[in-house]
């Protein structure tokens, strides 16, 4: 047996157990040194200089970039280190705009927290104060360079995890900034797919989901001529509670329903209803393609950043995307059609979607989702945005009683609810397909491999001599690799679920900010728990079945296609390529 290896941190022996760097060991020793540029999901970068420690024989080093070695003696809080760390923080604070009371990130900002923890009350270095300049040209995200500390987390996640590189460091010295290609505003960036993972890892208020629509929602609620319907995505119910100090992953759907009514929404629905509808259409589409052997593998299309990605970077796979709309974009037209069916006017019903996602905001703005200038989804608010609305209204969320969603668009099955976790859409689709192909044995198939905390998962189901090979991938760089393998003929699948955010919608940019895997898992567990309390498969959603009788006619029929399906565009950049 190998000898155990130790590092001594402030006189205490700490065993090395596979930690990648000294900072992880220091944190294991319960010195929770806060940093900006170190992020457990990204490559170490060593830029913010707040993780400085003193290693005997090495001097002062950035602990995030040092490999732990047996026998190292480490000081974390010597006078010199305390002094340097404080100077580094003061230097970060000396330029830029750090007006906390006027910042949406206040209370969730790492820079603010560290300045408070270290009790910085004065900055000795005078520098030119940057004025706030907001780039709100993207419906999904807002950038404010004056709040940026150049930690590079956004650049690295866009490159390393999403494989896109829509932003990078540009210019030099005092003029350094994070810029899109050619310094365009984000709304004009060709590369950005709006996934918002950059905002998820931003320690300050420099990159945040666009929350401008909240005002419009309040206005619509208070407009006597309008009725306002709201629906919440599955992942929202297991994310929102954190904003009110409730345990991570706790399902608070009942409190949300109550709060939404208190905010003044007229109809309170569940996006999971539309998720069941998506499954009925998408799985039916899959079974048809599978029977004919065309356009396989079929890719799911409910993740709008993934759709953007295919259109911009892999348009050769557009025929493989399911044409079924996402649950959000099925809910809108259904609610408006139902409102018209009952004698109302389409434009008098305002549909608000509460989503864990920034890309959903740009999805709602796509031209094909408008009828006579009226959008299918009027406004998209993020999970965090809804928390803000609840707080602004003074609602005591934690102490609310549970209420239920309105019928019929509040009914759902477990299949619709698990959409919020990576693997959930595929499981829901397979539950549907198995029940169609092999009703007798459908319930005996287990999907544990699709529920693992992994970015790539597989499941093959066999029905007699039919074999359906499926895969689930999350994170766009992982998706890219799968596309390359498929193109090279290395892999074959019939049906593939892709989510842009690793772990699925529970990890979306609209959710309360988090680091690492544990929060994703807790949120996903919250959804799988609700699943056990509901009907099993989307066919069991009585509301969905009734809808086909009343408005949609038959599954996959012409009317369903008009309201529930969509089309995609090749938007690849081919600058300079011969036609």
């Amino acid at each position: 047996m190998e000898k155990e290896q130790f590092v001594t941190i402030e006189g205490k022996r700490v065993p090395i157990e596979g930690e990648k760097n000294l900072l992880e060991l220091v944190r294991k020793a319960n010195f929770n040194i806060m940093t900006f540029c170190y992020h457990p999901e990204l490559a170490a970068y060593g830029a913010c200089r707040l993780c400085l420690v003193e290693v005997e024989g090495m001097g002062i080093v950035a602990s995030c970039t040092v490999k732990p070695k047996d026998g190292m003696k480490v000081r974390v809080n010597s006078d010199e280190i305390r002094h340097l760390r404080r100077i580094n923080l003061e230097l970060l604070l000396s330029s830029g705009n750090h007006d906390c009371t006027l910042c949406s990130k206040s209370n969730n900002c790492k820079l603010q927290k560290l300045a408070k923890d270290m009790d910085v009350t004065e900055i000795r270095f005078k520098s030119k104060k940057l004025d706030s300049h907001k780039d709100a040209t993207s419906p999904a995200l807002v950038r404010d360079h004056s709040k940026c500390i150049l930690c590079g987390n956004c650049v690295r996640i866009c490159n390393e995890v999403q494989g896109i590189g829509a932003i990078d460091f540009a210019f030099r010295g005092f003029r350094s900034k994070i810029a899109t290609a050619f310094n365009k505003e984000l709304g004009q960036s060709h590369e950005c797919v709006s996934c918002g993972q950059c905002a998820r890892v931003c320690p300050t208020g420099a990159l945040m989901p666009n929350s401008s629509e909240i005002e419009d929602v309040f206005k619509a609620i208070n407009d006597p001529k309008k009725k306002v319907a709201v629906h919440i995505a599955p992942a929202v119910r297991v994310g929102l509670g954190e904003m009110f100090g409730l345990p991570q992953g706790q399902n608070v759907d009942g409190k949300i329903a109550t709060a939404l009514r208190m905010l003044g929404f007229d109809y309170v629905y569940d996006t999971a209803f539309a998720a069941d509808l998506t499954i009925v259409e998408e799985a039916t589409e899959f079974l048809e393609r599978f029977k004919k052997g065309v356009n396989l593998p079929q890719f799911t299309s409910c993740c709008p950043a993934w759709v953007n990605y295919v259109e911009k970077f892999a348009p050769e796979f557009i025929p493989n995307l399911s044409t079924a709309r996402s649950p959000m974009q099925m809910m809108g037209p259904i609610l408006k059609a139902d409102y018209e069916d009952k004698g109302g006017k389409r434009e008098d019903l305002v549909v608000v979607a509460v989503m864990p996602c920034s890309a959903k905001k740009s999805e709602a703005k796509r031209g094909e989702f408008y009828v006579n200038d009226n959008p299918d989804t009027d406004y998209v608010v993020t999970t965090v945005g809804l928390a803000r609305m609840i707080k602004e209204a003074g609602i005591d969320f934690v102490n609310l009683e549970n209420e239920w969603f309105d019928m019929p668009f509040g009914t759902k099955t477990g299949a619709g609810v698990i959409f919020g976790a990576s693997g959930g859409v595929m499981e829901a689709a397979l539950r549907y397909a198995l029940a169609e192909l092999d009703p007798a044995n459908a319930r005996s198939v287990k999907f544990s491999s699709l529920r693992e905390s992994k970015v790539f998962k597989e499941k093959t189901v066999e029905i007699g001599d039919i074999k359906i090979r499926t895969a689930v991938v999350s994170g766009l760089k992982n998706a890219r690799k799968l596309l390359d393998d498929i193109k090279a003929g290395k892999d074959h699948y019939d049906f593939i679920e892709v989510m842009s955010c690793q772990g699925g919608c529970v990890a979306g940019a609209g959710q309360p900010q988090f680091d690492g895997w544990a929060p994703r898992q807790k949120r996903a567990e919250g959804l799988y728990q609700e699943d056990t309390e509901l009907a099993y498969k989307s066919q069991d959603n009585s509301g969905v079945l009734a809808l086909y009788g009343r408005i949609l006619d038959k599954v996959g029929g012409p009317l369903a296609h008009k309201l529930l399906h969509t089309h995609y565009y090749d938007r690849k950049d081919r600058t300079g390529q011969q036609k």
Partner: protein, 161 residues
């Protein structure tokens, strides 16, 4: 129409489409196109399979690269330590006035001149130094700088006749 991307394609080929050679590629491209036009940078990024933001980052990091078109004649005035001490700021201000350059403007409206303030030209013994189209002028004064510019303007006028 001749293909405006053909010279860039040739340069890429000469560098084996190797993204590690991005800087030499951009240098050659700048020689060819006189600056780094956006569509050419985008083309290079696509061909090298790197992000256009990365190419833009490199292009804006080095003072050598220009992302806006440069004038026909390039004037470099050194503002390194030695030249600065010897009064290069007066030369720079005079040139700016002479060329009617506004704050933040490097190139004249008629695209005839670009003024670049550089950090050291390695000719500190001749400080202050000005370089007009690769010809080094040492111990420059504001008056001499104007003289040099006037002579270029005069020869341009002659060529135009």
């Amino acid at each position: 129409m001749t293909d405006r991307f053909a010279p860039a394609a040739k340069i890429l080929e000469e560098h084996q489409y190797d993204s590690a050679k991005l800087i030499p590629i951009l240098q050659k491209v700048q020689d060819e196109y006189k600056y780094l036009p956006e569509d050419i940078m985008r083309f290079i990024a696509n061909e090298l399979d790197i992000s256009p933001a990365k190419v833009f980052g490199v292009a804006t990091f080095f003072a050598h690269f220009a992302i806006t078109p440069k004038g026909k004649h390039i004037i470099k005035v050194c503002n390194g330590t030695a030249c600065h001490v010897k009064g290069s700021s007066f030369v720079i201000n005079t040139v700016k006035d002479k060329l009617k350059l506004k704050d933040g403007q490097d190139t004249t409206d008629d695209m005839m001149f670009t003024l670049e303030c550089v950090s050291c030209l390695g000719a500190c013994g001749l400080a202050p130094v000005m370089v007009m189209d690769d010809v080094v002028h040492g111990q420059i004064t504001p008056a001499k700088a104007v003289e040099i510019i006037d002579s270029v303007i005069a020869s341009e006028a002659k060529n135009a006749d």
